[in-house]
């Protein structure tokens, strides 16, 4: 068998294709999906590439079946993922909660389009960021990463598989139609290794007994002699249902949430520019990050002390880091491709210490740098007056 992913090369590929290459480099050998714009190229590239590396591609009958098959394959011993967009991601939600409660490491790619319902199939959106965190019923936590370029689509997808295994949690890639369909240079680093899945010791094994950090140590597969009982009802450390045991259930719910939120500081992934003396900071994530950086540079040309933050790990939301970085600014501007959702998280993070301005963009368009610059200038004059 030939080299699996052509490492140490530069390719001009689509964001969607970059995700597939990164997944394969990370050791993903199972994909189940159902066609939907603008995520279909992920399924198409998986169908092409996975069989070449002895992996499994399944086009299932729907998105529900797809996420369920991915979880099954994950316990079957493979690193697994699924991809979709708006309507399909909605269908997957019961499966997301299941994966969270049985601590199945899977990667879910949402190439976001405008919604709700069939919405705007060919236009970008960022309307599903809250859904990623809250979409399934009940208390649980996930991790979500947001790429703003094809390179980040590659890098963050690889990272998603690392995090899924480490935290035994579903990890979302919240891409969007722009990243998905843009073709640009992607550097595939040399020396990428498939993500390791550690086998726990068999002696006295309890599948849901966590360490002090709330994390499960490794993951066995079915038919390896561990006697696994994987139960979707709230369960004890052996996997036995515990819905009649309030303390056991409370403890599990708390652990499932805190194993992520307690590691928020380690999970922070933020890029900054021009922050040192910035008075006005654009807080961006996903596609709007690119016009945001352009606008901040243009503002600097005009001697406005503007700064730039790009958040790559959107869940858990890096609230401490944002509060810290924003402390010196007087205004934060939050451009997003929705009615103004994450701006509330930013507001919560800075707790009234800094003015926070929402800059929503609807209709399936991306902010132009000029639009963001205009807002920066407006805020700059308000303050110098």
């Amino acid at each position: 068998m030939g080299q699996e992913v052509c490492q140490g090369t530069v390719k001009i590929i689509q964001g969607n294709e970059a995700i597939v290459e990164a997944a394969i480099a990370a050791g993903c050998r199972f994909f189940a999906g159902y066609p939907i714009t603008p995520a279909s190229e992920i399924a198409e590239a998986m169908a092409q590439r996975l069989p070449q590396v002895n992996g499994v591609f399944l086009q299932m009958e729907d998105e529900i079946a797809s996420i369920c098959a991915a979880i099954g394959a994950s316990f079957g011993g493979m690193k697994a993922c699924t991809a979709s967009s708006g309507p399909g991601i909605s269908l997957k939600q019961e499966g997301v909660g299941y994966a969270a409660v049985v601590e199945a490491p899977i990667v879910i790619i949402n190439v976001m389009r405008g919604g709700p319902a069939t919405g705007m199939p060919t236009a970008p959106g960022q309307q599903d960021i809250l859904q990623a965190k809250y979409g399934s019923h009940g208390d649980y936590e996930i991790i979500a990463l947001m790429p703003s370029s094809c390179q980040e689509a590659f890098d963050l997808t690889y990272k998603a598989f690392v995090l899924a295994e480490k935290y035994r949690v579903p990890v979302y890639i919240l891409s969007d139609e722009i990243v998905g369909h843009t073709r640009e240079k992607v550097r595939i680093p040399a020396g990428l290794k498939p993500v390791e899945r550690k086998k726990p010791p068999k002696e006295g094994y309890q599948p849901f007994k966590a360490g002090d950090d709330g994390l499960l140590d490794g993951m066995p597969a079915f038919n390896e002699g561990y006697k696994l009982l994987i139960e979707g009802q709230l369960h004890d450390e052996n996997g036995n249902r515990a819905a009649h045991l309030p303390e056991v259930c409370a403890k599990l719910t708390e652990r499932l949430c805190k194993k992520i939120t307690n590691h928020a500081d380690q999970l922070v992934d933020i890029e900054t520019s021009f922050l040192d003396d910035a008075e006005i900071v654009v807080v961006s994530f996903g596609s709007p990050a690119r016009p945001s950086l352009r606008a901040v540079k243009d503002a600097r040309e005009k001697n406005i002390r503007a700064g730039y933050i790009k958040i790559r790990t959107i869940w858990p939301f890096p609230e401490k880091k944002i509060a810290e970085l924003a402390a010196k600014a007087h205004t934060l501007i939050v451009p997003e491709l929705n009615i103004g959702r994450m701006v509330n998280e930013v507001k919560r993070a800075v707790a009234g210490q800094v003015e926070v301005v929402s800059l929503p963009k609807l209709g399936g368009l991306l902010h132009t740098p000029g639009e963001i610059l205009a807002e920066i200038e407006r805020r700059a004059t308000v303050c110098t007056r």
Binding site: M1, G2, Q3, E4, C6, T9, R29, F30, A32, R49, P51, Q52, V53, N54, V56, L58, M60, E61, D62, I64, A65, S66, C68, A69, A70, I71, G72, A73, S74, F75, G76, G77, M78, A80, E94, G95, Y98, A221, F222, N223, E224, G225, Y226, K227, L228, L229, I230, E231, G232, Q233, R241
Partner: protein
């Protein structure tokens, strides 16, 4: 080799979905209606693994109906054991897609206005390659058939008619005595081989039991998939 090294169990949601949880074999207890997709992931991640699904009639033919027909269409090597009690048992006795017409349940209080599914006919039509029906009054025949179904390389479907005294018995038939319900199962069924010599009149109202359909010709999905991809290789 220990059977535990080879067999994986998947339970759906409903009374019947709990069956595998009490068996000392690796078990995945999943979501309502979705057992077959989970089982498909388990099977495809290791085609040498034998996967057995325990599901109810509502789980399999109602909410999971689409997965059921597509699993059968693929002829993926999974054994589906459908516990058929004609009702949604776990939730307290509501009408199922298998409840007899006119049957009174909590959500068909004036009699079921709908026509029930025949799971075996559906399985066969969709592409299953092993189809059988027994009742809980036929335990020896049933266990023999389960063993044959597991050995069969392909999608196998076994429908098991059950007594369900708590819900269907009481609600649909007005009978809560399990022994009496088992007698009714015996009286209402006829072995497919015995039925060959009977007249139409004699068969009226009788449900056929036994091994109903078997096909060893159709390609099994998982092994065929791996055979196919073994010829491919990646290159830069």
């Amino acid at each position: 080799m220990d059977i535990r090294d080879k067999v994986a169990l998947v339970g759906g949601i409903g009374c019947s979905g709990w069956i595998p949880v009490y068996i000392d074999v690796d078990t995945l207890h999943v979501l309502h209606g979705r057992a077959i997709p989970f089982a498909s992931g388990l099977k495809m991640s290791d085609p040498s693994r034998k996967v057995i699904v325990f599901t109810g009639d509502g789980d399999c033919l109602g909410i999971g109906g689409n997965h059921f027909i597509h699993g059968a269409r693929r002829n993926i090597d999974i054994t589906v054991i459908m516990v058929h009690n004609q009702i949604y048992g776990m939730t307290g006795g509501q009408v199922a897609p298998t409840t007899p017409s006119h049957g009174k349940t909590k959500t068909s209080p004036y009699g079921n206005p709908e026509i029930p599914f025949d799971g075996c006919a559906l399985a066969k039509a969709a592409g299953a390659t092993f189809v059988a029906r027994w009742t809980t009054a036929h335990p020896r025949q049933l266990s023999k058939t389960i063993a044959e179904a597991i050995d069969h390389e392909g999608f196998s479907f076994i429908e098991v008619l059950t007594q369900c005294p708590t819900q269907a018995g009481r609600v649909i038939y007005g009978v809560a005595d399990p022994a009496q319900l088992l007698d009714m199962l015996k009286a209402n069924t006829i072995n497919v081989n015995a039925a060959k010599n009977k007249s139409i009149e004699e068969l009226t109202g009788k449900i056929l039991i036994g091994n109903l359909y078997h096909d060893d010709e159709r390609l099994e999905f998982a092994s065929n998939y791996y055979k196919k991809i073994s010829k491919l290789a990646a290159s830069c």
